[in-house]
């Protein structure tokens, strides 16, 4: 076969195990990564969220995936950073979606995303409404409440007991989805710090080479995760 001009030789690529090639690249990068400690969350320079929104996202994600018990929580894995960066990017602005009107935001949920707002706008509009509800119901903004009260408030939000306009009614499910994304996504997106969630559940991350494994039945895979940038844990 002939190889395409400008591309690495395909035949050589096939001969060398792709994983071998890739992992030697990873090892070289791993050291540089380990030496850079992350900015503490308090000092983090926000890309999208304002101070009140940040306080809410910190407090809410800390209840959605709490630090107590086995495994890391949203705070140790820096989920709030992930959410801030996602909202600042093309996800937040719904660049890939069809956002033309007319909109029918109160359509049945099974009809899909029908609000005129993008995810970033939903956070911006919903957080003050929910904080106002917390003040009215529990006497303080969400971030100021005790953990137990926060859980009760989030449950009310989840169950639809907090009155929200149809444009922002899906706020809880969006927040929860983004929190889990930030917990499990590759660390390059700001969350899953040090791949702690992957270590916790036993997902090897970007290893993606298991040719020796399909027929090793009922045997736990022993290696820890690697990330796209070459971190190991």
């Amino acid at each position: 076969m002939t190889d395409l001009p400008g591309y690495p030789s395909r035949r050589n690529f096939l001969k060398a195990s792709a994983a071998g090639v890739a992992l030697s690249g990873l090892a070289a990068q791993a050291k540089a990564q380990e030496t850079t400690p992350p900015v503490p969350l308090e000092d983090y320079d926000r890309a999208y969220l304002n101070a009140d929104e940040w306080a809410f996202v910190m407090a809410a994600t800390a209840r959605l995936i709490p630090s107590e018990g086995d495994g890391p929580g949203a705070i140790e894995t820096r989920v709030p950073v992930f959410i801030d960066l996602q909202l600042a990017g093309d996800y937040g602005s719904a660049d890939d979606w069809y956002m033309e009107g007319p909109h029918v935001p109160d359509a049945e949920p099974a009809r899909g995303w029908q609000t005129p707002l993008n995810p970033a706008e939903i956070y911006r509009k919903a957080i003050p409404v929910f904080n106002a509800w917390c003040e009215q119901t529990h006497g303080a903004a969400f971030a100021e409440l005790e953990a137990e009260t926060q859980d009760a408030a989030l449950t009310a939000l989840q169950d639809g007991d907090v009155a929200l306009d149809p444009e922002i009614r899906d706020f809880f499910s969006i927040l929860l989805a983004n929190t889990k994304e930030g917990y499990f996504a590759d660390p390059q997106y700001g969350g899953n710090h040090e791949m702690q969630s992957w270590v916790y559940i036993g997902f090897p991350g970007a290893r993606a080479a298991y040719r020796a494994w399909p027929e090793r039945h009922n045997e736990k895979y022993p290696l820890g995760p690697v990330s796209i940038s070459g971190e190991r844990a």
Binding site: M1, T2, L4, Y7, P8, R10, F13, L14, A18, A19, A22, G25, L26, R63, L64, I65, P66, E68, G69, D70, G71, D96, W97, Y98, M99, E100, V104, A107, P109, A110, R111, G112, L154, L176, T179, K180, E181, F184, A185, D186, S197, Y200, I201, G202, F203, G205, A206, A208, Y210, R211, W213, P214, E215, H217, N218, E219, K220, Y221, V226, I228
Partner: protein, 589 residues
């Protein structure tokens, strides 16, 4: 005024699976060909390289390989009384975008239909009587038979590099293969893939119940392989980033790994990316097409591309949309049954069971898109429609395909969705669960159809296509039947707990969760111009130099993933063009 390009013998609309097949087969005839592809160019190197490709958020969740609704989408309503609303964010189905189309990021589950599925109406009438056919079901026969298509299924499987084990070799039933499949003139090009732990448990449990387990037929290389075009594949790594991803390894069957490298070497073939076809232009008498008009993204202008033959290979949804916009037939009217374009839109009816075994290790990240052991004991040819009260069937499969935790985190019933209970459950459960899926047929109905939306338009000002679709009792009953059969099998494996997910009576179509990208029908094949949009060669009844590829040709959907039939039909069509049409262009029927 549109810019005009030099005339070509053939213009191909969309360079995915079927566009690539048409390209290389017609290039062998020495024809001057241009393929117009809406999306970007992409290749294994550099686009699918390790480790950048191993990114669940970017490709699995944010769907960066797929069609962007901001560029093209549909509207959806569940019945004629509802106002259709745009499919704004991808969910239920994920059309591909860019060179290779959905063929780059499919799973690779490659099936042939059963013989009876291609003559389903006749089979039902002969075996159970016409009176079991429910009111409103447009049950039909394909105008081609399994025997006629068999050489073309074989041809596609050799090109695509399929791994598996023949269960029916020239009529001889072979132990360990699928005894209920249609006959094969040759065994698979590659032996089956190795069996993971979950698959082996399923195989043993199914065999103990008297069923007939066999390895899934996979567009995934089990060994080194060179296909008839000289394209080379290497064995799969079980990387677990298969569906929704391009393969970094030259192991998954795709246009890139099996056709495009060879095709690009033909000097008479050219392709242009960022070129979105807006409509097919018809000659004044309406009997033929003169070419297509497309949007050149780089130049930001419309371009007319004249051609003698137009191949529509832009995926089912886009093909039907283009045909509706171009007047390539009359629009189907569900009330009168008149018209053909948009008729018989169908989908897939799936369900499944997750099983939890706290002391067993499944390593869910060790897998590939088409992994698994299957059974066909509840397939269309095996079910007693008269006794069970439905027409249809499904195949079942169990096999790890990805362990990506954002999307693949099955948890026992009753687990909270967040908080300390959720966190504890993911720690205890991840890696200790397996599943069995039922992948079922979906019949065609008068009420499920496609036309143009009266309200919403795309960025070019064209009406979006409108999908009218809902689940129907017949297929929901089939699904419940599968549940009743699968639960005892799952229970026989003694899991700590299990959780079934099967749509039941009254279920309505929900566009949010991913279901399948197996959209079918809308420009169906037919014996005559009254019943469908294309003939047995997928040639437009309206304009004889227009040929439509893909699952839009399906009379009703089969119980299987569509691409085996899509590929077989594509080779059948290009063979007809090569052997019958080129020498004397005319309606072939």
């Amino acid at each position: 005024m549109a810019r005009q390009e030099k005339k070509k013998d053939v213009v191909i609309v969309g360079l995915g699976w079927t566009g690539s097949i048409a390209g290389i087969e017609l290039a062998q005839e020495g024809l001057d060909i241009v393929a117009l592809e809406r999306g970007h160019d992409q290749n294994t190197v550099p686009n699918f390289e390790y480790p950048q490709q191993i990114d669940e958020l970017k490709y699995g969740v944010r769907l960066k390989m797929m069609q962007k609704p901001s560029q093209q989408t549909v509207t959806v309503r569940r019945n004629g009384g509802e106002t259709a609303l745009p499919y704004r964010q991808l969910g239920s189905f994920l059309p591909g975008n860019g060179v290779g189309g959905a063929g780059t990021h499919w799973n690779g589950l490659n099936w042939r239909p059963q013989e009876v599925e291609l003559r389903l109406r006749s089979y039902v009438e002969e075996t159970f009587g016409a009176d079991i056919i429910p009111e409103g079901m447009n049950l039909g026969d394909y105008p081609v038979s399994y025997d006629e298509l068999e050489p073309f299924f074989t041809q596609f499987e050799k090109v695509a590099g399929i791994s598996g084990y023949a269960g029916n070799l020239n009529g001889e039933i072979r132990e360990g293969g699928n005894p209920f499949e249609g006959w094969r003139s040759e065994d698979f090009p590659m032996p089956p893939m190795p069996t993971t732990y979950d698959s082996s448990k399923f195989r043993d449990a199914a065999a103990a119940m008297g069923y007939h387990p066999f390895p899934a037929s996979a567009g995934i290389a089990s060994t080194s392989y060179v296909n008839p075009y000289g394209m080379q594949m290497g064995p799969c790594n079980f990387c677990g980033f298969c569906e929704r991803f391009g393969c970094y390894q030259y192991s998954k069957s795709s246009p890139q790994t099996t056709i495009l490298g060879a095709l690009k070497r033909y000097p008479n073939f050219e392709y242009r990316t960022q070129s979105e076809v807006l409509r097919v232009e018809l000659a004044e008498d309406g009997q033929t097409a003169t070419g297509v008009t497309y949007w050149d993204e780089a130049a930001q202008e419309e371009v007319f591309q004249p051609a003698d033959i137009v191949i529509l290979s832009s995926y089912q949804l886009n093909n039907v949309h283009l045909m509706l916009l171009s007047g390539l037939g009359e629009v189907y009217d569900p009330l009168t049954g008149e018209g053909t374009l948009g008729k018989n839109y169908a989908y897939q009816m799936n369900g499944g069971i997750s099983m939890f075994f706290k002391d067993e290790e499944f390593n869910p990240f060790v897998g590939h898109g088409a992994n698994g052991i299957c059974i066909d004991d509840f397939s269309i040819s095996q079910n007693d429609f008269g006794a069970e009260g439905f027409i249809g069937g499904s195949y079942w499969r169990s096999g790890t395909f990805n362990g990506q935790p954002i999307r693949n985190m099955p948890l026992p019933a009753g687990t909270p969705a967040w908080g300390a209970g959720w966190k504890q459950a993911i720690g205890e459960t991840y890696g200790h669960a397996m599943s069995i899926g039922s992948h079922g047929s979906h019949m065609a109905y008068a009420n499920n159809h496609l036309d143009l939306d009266p309200t919403y338009t795309d960025r070019h000002g064209r009406p979006l296509m409108r999908m009218t679709f809902n689940w129907q009792d017949n297929d929901l009953r089939m699904n419940q039947f599968m549940k009743s059969k699968m639960e005892p099998l799952a229970a026989s494996m003694n899991p700590d707990s299990m959780r079934a997910g099967f749509k039941g009576p009254g279920a309505e179509y929900d566009v949010r969760p991913y279901q399948t990208t197996h959209n079918t029908g809308g420009h169906i094949m037919s014996e005559n111009a009254r019943e469908g949009a294309v003939n047995r060669y997928c040639q437009s009844w309206k304009a004889h130099n227009v040929f439509a590829m893909g699952a839009g040709n399906f009379v009703q959907n089969t119980q299987y993933n569509p691409t085996g039939l899509v590929g077989g039909l594509a080779y059948h069509t290009v063979n007809a063009i090569r052997t019958q049409y080129l020498s004397n262009p005319r309606p072939l029927v």
